[in-house]
Symmetry: C2
């Protein structure tokens, strides 16, 4: 495994000092920023995440700020979700598409005001799409990346830890809702959200200078909770069916193919609606499925996606796969053709190193 060289282009974060002190073993790059991929090992991190609490530097979830008189017009144009029903304190997971329904990103959108939204983006410069649209439509709206870096607190002890830092009021925050809560001299958005199924919060740290003080506050408050630095965990997120844009689905896929049809309910003529509505009526040609792959825990690393075969014909692609210690099988996320997507269907996976039998599952492992 060759190393990674940071630069101004591949940025550090407000929490980099804390992350580096915790000694991550590997990184990836996400939105031009460093993101740790594991600390002790995938499996040790996984067991710890499911039992205790972790602090994740997810600054890589950069915000695209959409602000101005036409902000709602732009959001209505891109959002497959019905924005009319969005509460003032709500976070919306939102597939965003081109005019043919090809996915461009899947941010979590926060409504700060009627004329101000933050889109917390997956890997990819969605800012450029919104900027191009706004200029092309002559919308009066400002599109920029603010100095806002999410810090996630995840795991069964996350509520206790977050309450110790932000007060017991965090216990009343509902799933995908937020409150503005004070730390030092400033209020931050604290949302019950995060890229794990273990529960927890994301704090939208507005101002680099608050990064390390808040990081340190969580570690100080969480000593007896066995708090550790962590990061999104490959095993846990595949078990839970949390999709990685760019891996599990790309612009080649629609939200319906990504299993996100339920998020496409806007009455507006949003981008991609025609194809999305057609696929909702008729079914797509392929869809995301949980797949269990037979054999032992020695799967090779899946760097480019593995072909899924049936009678030597390709019927799908697996972009994410790993051994699950808790479920004692190899868990995977595959994009599987309509002809072979029924639960129970037996498939073959070419891992490059070997061929393995695999079975389409009914549900993810939650």
């Amino acid at each position: 495994m060759a190393g990674i060289i940071p630069s101004r282009r591949v940025r550090g974060t407000p929490f980099s000092a804390g992350v580096q002190a915790a000694n991550p073993k590997a990184y990836t790059v996400y939105n031009h920023m460093l993101l740790p991929t594991y600390f002790a090992s995938y499996q040790e991190d996984y067991h710890h995440l499911k039992k205790y609490v972790q602090v994740w530097d997810v600054s890589v979830e950069r915000q695209v700020s959409v602000k101005g008189p036409d902000a709602a017009n732009l959001m209505n144009m891109i959002s497959p979700r019905d924005m009319n029903n969005m509460a003032g304190d709500q976070c919306y997971y939102m597939p965003i598409c081109d005019d043919n329904g090809g996915m461009l990103n899947d941010p979590v959108t926060i409504k700060l005001a009627e004329d101000h939204y933050w889109l917390s983006i997956a890997d990819g410069d969605l800012l450029q799409f919104l900027l191009g649209l706004a200029i092309g439509k002559n919308f009066e709206v400002e599109i920029f990346e603010p100095d806002v870096s999410p810090l996630a607190i995840q795991g069964p002890k996350a509520e206790e830890l977050t309450a110790r830092v932000f007060g017991d009021t965090v216990r009343n925050i509902k799933f995908f809702r937020y409150k503005k809560l004070q730390f030092l001299d400033k209020e931050f958005i604290v949302a019950r959200s995060g890229w794990s199924k273990q529960g927890g919060f994301e704090i939208y740290v507005d101002g680099t200078e608050y990064g390390m003080p808040l990081w340190d506050a969580f570690f100080e408050a969480g000593k007896d909770l066995n708090v550790r630095a962590g990061c999104p965990n490959l095993i846990e997120r595949i078990e839970g069916g949390l999709l990685s844009f760019g891996s599990d689905m790309t612009r080649q896929n629609t939200p319906v193919e990504a299993g996100l049809a339920k998020f496409c309910n806007s009455p507006n003529e949003y981008l991609g609606k025609a194809l999305i509505e057609k696929q909702k009526r008729e079914g797509p040609d392929r869809i995301i499925r949980p797949i269990s792959i037979d054999g032992s825990d020695d799967l090779p690393h899946n760097a480019n996606g593995w072909k899924v075969l049936s009678n030597d014909k390709q019927v799908g692609l697996i972009a994410s796969a790993t051994w699950s210690p808790d479920f004692q099988t190899n868990v995977a996320i595959g994009m599987i053709d309509r002809t072979h997507w029924n639960p129970g269907t037996i498939l073959n996976v070419d891992t490059g190193a070997d061929n393995r039998s695999a079975v389409v599952q009914e549900k993810f492992w939650i």
Copy 2:
């Protein structure tokens, strides 16, 4: 130095097998793809590049294909360069800006036909900007990323090596011009260009399946030329003043500030023109300058940019700096305020590890 984990999201390239066999010591990530940063060492790579010839996997220079009846309209809208004078076989280096002149990318644009362009992009999803613009303007144009991966042949022996593979006709290709030349059963664009000052070519490899056969052909043909796998070299590119978008300049800068005013000559109302023309008339507030930094060759790694100070007041930022063996000084690229940009001005650089004296230079080290 922690390692980097590839995934379908952080992609390999058509040449990855060749690159990996050459054992790069470190990578960066650029346009969601792996890019080696050095093989033997920055300095060994540098000396070799200046004396022999290297084959660079620069697949990371992804192409944005702009094709359709409105392709020229879209290009006229974004190009600060006068597209009317662009010859059919020409490559245009092209800063691209938002409506306030903030740089979004600096691709090399190739004209394939009157209604078809490829933009060979720097790090950043410029595709999303063009797609947003095209949708917003209701342009009839297709915006997509083709399966095209540039391979660069760079160094004083590059012409000899490229002639051995593509024929002596390559010797007649002028700077930033291209010819379509055959390899196996297909014609490829071969341009005299590349991100070094040592001369050479870039082959736009159209089709992943041609990647390794072409890679192997260059290494087979170049044995007696001491050909090696290489990559853009930090030392050589700073000496030559080759700018890295995202490091040396960002959306916070205009092309005039980046020293690219000469590329802003379009008679059309392109995006950012008002501010760019104003800065051309009145001068910008800051500009890119070559800077030599005093002291020995033990500069720390510049990961976030270094403040440039004068009497303890910040007057600039250095994003790129390293020791130059050939010029026996630390060479750097800085964005320096108007008040301190005159050649000969003595400045102070805070490297984090120490404070060093520095001098604004008249020219880069070419």
